[in-house]
């Protein structure tokens, strides 16, 4: 199948419900993987799950059984440490078998801690060094357009990654070349390695910055599936400019115990807490 669901005949209510269910399963997969490793970027994974559910369930054209399908939309994860979230989304999308997730971070696994293209089906680029994704996306979009392919190029970034000057070089290039097939999605969680983004290197005002760089922008609650769906629909409209979705997310979203824990780049979860986390996630989703 080309997309997961034919969204043309689906009501908005059904669509949002379907994607919320997908987001629940992505979070559940991420918790399972976090427990296997006993650690990981679980806060980010829970925060970005709704974004990934909407991208893989509603935006990207791909063939789960053929990740190299030439006409696919490209999904570039420039934040390599979000690999745990991406694998969870790949499993939900059928690109990676769910049962393989338990190998996450193990020797010989196709699912290493940091995302690498040579290891994992569906992983277009290797992450780890931040500020690379949007530049590669620029070239892919230029190249696809040059070759007459209509495919979109979607790059998932984080707000911390906006510190990197290379991101802004690419922002200029996408706008200059009118790369309307580029969709950048920023997980704005306000957190980076040394602490809150506001204290490390201020990146606000985000929307104004990107608009000034020539991008079509939307800023939404990144944990509100309905708002994400509406914004993604709107962002397909402009045929001349690249678009950016600024998604404000809460690390640990969906698991109150982790949502309220002291915000840290690398969230600590005790061994006995994984069951509690799954239980809280289930309760929240049922409400």
């Amino acid at each position: 199948m080309t997309t997961l669901t034919d969204t043309t005949t689906e009501s908005t209510t059904d669509r949002v419900a379907r994607l919320r269910d997908a987001a629940y399963r992505i979070r559940r997969h991420a918790l399972d993987m976090g427990e296997v490793q006993g650690q990981g970027y679980i806060g980010q994974a829970l925060g970005v799950a709704d974004v990934l559910a909407v991208l893989f369930g509603d935006v990207l054209r791909f063939r789960a059984e053929d990740p190299e399908w030439p006409d696919r939309d490209r999904f570039l994860l420039s934040i390599g440490h979000y690999a745990i979230a991406a694998y969870a989304a790949f499993a939900e999308a059928g690109i990676v078998p769910v049962e393989e997730l338990e190998t996450y971070g193990s020797d010989g696994s196709r699912l290493p801690m940091s995302a690498m293209a040579s290891y994992t089906p569906g992983m277009e680029i290797s992450g780890g060094s931040l500020g690379h994704g949007l530049g590669v996306a620029t070239g892919m979009a230029l190249g696809l357009r040059h070759r007459g392919h209509p495919a979109r190029v979607v790059n998932l970034l984080s707000d911390g990654e906006l510190d990197e000057g290379s991101t802004w070089e690419a922002a200029l290039a996408c706008a200059h070349h009118g790369l309307s097939t580029v969709l950048a999605v920023v997980d704005v969680n306000g957190l980076q390695a040394d602490g809150p983004t506001a204290g490390v290197l201020r990146v606000d005002p985000l929307e104004e910055k990107w608009r000034a760089f020539g991008w079509t922008t939307r800023r939404v609650d990144g944990n509100d599936v309905g708002a994400l769906v509406a914004a993604c629909d709107e962002l397909t409209a402009d045929p001349t400019a690249p678009s950016i979705l600024l998604a404000d997310t809460t690390p640990g979203h969906g698991v109150p115990m982790l949502e309220t824990r002291e915000k840290a780049h690398f969230l600590r979860v005790e061994a006995h807490e994984w069951d509690i986390a799954r239980e809280q996630l289930k309760e929240g989703h049922a409400r």
Partner: protein
């Protein structure tokens, strides 16, 4: 009586010619070779970071305007986007100055291009000491930076013949490459020798019993000139041209170095981390005890000035090379009185 002070040479334009005054040259060999190749290879594209005009990429741009992509003065996105282009099946040649491709954008060359093994061809202008503009533009350590990068093929051409033949070879090579670009009026030298550029292969351009010069890049031209000059002293000089720095043609180097000749490496690059050290480690690891001398730039930030002045000062000119060979030979044994020069 007063005598006028001799007029001092001045730093010429950013890009000075290193051709001798009456030397045969070919204009923009890289740009023309790429434009020609692109006629039969529709997947070839050109990119530059606001230096098309100064890297001979403008010839390609004018011949194939729809296949040239201007990325602005932004080397990180130049190389990142080149990787993206290769990911979707194009074969990019991305040009800027060597200093920017290596010092400024190395993370992008390494991780976006070399790690996935993409067919991206990075073209660096002003390699080594080919401008008198000063350290900001003199890529004296580009080979040292890049030799440690896995997957990357590195080519340092001697002249227009090398460049014209290297361009199709680099496009054919299914992996990342770095070309040290000579641009503008580029000397034409190697057509006088029985030579063809082969990626990964060194070539003995002339044989000689007394001295072996293992040279790369424009220093091969100087080595050939020095060899001719030394004929007058009855010194017989062999020249092994090594246009591919990585992978190094170890067999050819080992074969040539197994000898009691004076062996000198010659490169337009710092003596740290370039051809000289690559040859030294190759012969040491092969258990060959031949003493080796290095002709190359000193391990320091170089001066600004006129290129001929700087090539003399830092030992790259033909005069300096001839003097160095003579000095090495006289250090090694009484010379030229020595009745039996070392034989090959």
């Amino acid at each position: 009586m007063t005598t006028a002070a001799p007029k001092r040479l001045t730093t010429s334009a950013m890009i000075a010619s290193f051709a001798d005054p009456d030397q045969r040259t070919t204009p923009a060999p890289f740009g023309h070779a790429l434009a020609r190749l692109a006629q039969e290879r529709p997947e070839i594209v050109g990119m530059s970071a606001d230096l098309a005009k100064y890297t001979d990429m403008h010839v390609f741009r004018d011949a194939h305007p729809d296949r040239f992509f201007q990325m602005g003065m932004a080397e990180q996105v130049l190389l990142g986007a080149a990787a993206g282009m290769a990911e979707v099946g194009l074969v990019p040649f991305a040009s800027t100055y060597s200093v920017f491709a290596t010092r400024r954008a190395y993370d992008f060359l390494c991780l976006d291009i070399a790690e996935p093994g993409l067919n991206v061809n990075v073209v660096g202008g002003l390699p080594g000491l080919t401008t008198g503009y000063g350290p900001s533009h003199q890529a004296t350590e580009d080979l040292a930076i890049l030799r440690g990068c896995p997957n990357l093929v590195i080519v340092d051409p001697c002249d227009s013949v090398d460049i014209e033949q290297a361009v199709p070879a680099l496009a054919d090579h299914d992996g990342p490459t770095y070309l040290r670009l000579l641009r503008g009026q580029v000397p034409t030298v190697l057509d006088e020798y029985d030579y063809r550029f082969e990626l990964g292969r060194a070539a003995e351009l002339r044989s000689g019993r007394d001295v072996l010069l293992i040279s790369t890049g424009l220093m091969t031209m100087r080595a050939l000139q020095a060899a001719q000059r030394l004929e007058a002293d009855h010194v017989d000089v062999a020249v092994l041209h090594v246009p591919t720095i990585k992978p190094l043609d170890r067999e050819a180097v080992i074969r040539a170095a197994r000898s009691d000749r004076l062996v000198l490496t010659c490169e337009n690059h710092t003596v740290v981390g370039g051809l000289g050290e690559a040859v030294a480690s190759t012969i040491a690891l092969a258990g060959i005890g031949t003493r080796l001398g290095q002709v190359g730039l000193p391990d320091e930030f170089l001066a600004a000035g006129a290129l001929p002045t700087l090539h003399d000062r830092y030992g790259l000119s033909t005069d300096a090379l001839v003097a160095r060979v003579r000095a090495e030979l006289s250090d090694r044994a009484p010379w030229p009185a020595d009745p039996t020069p070392p034989s090959a």
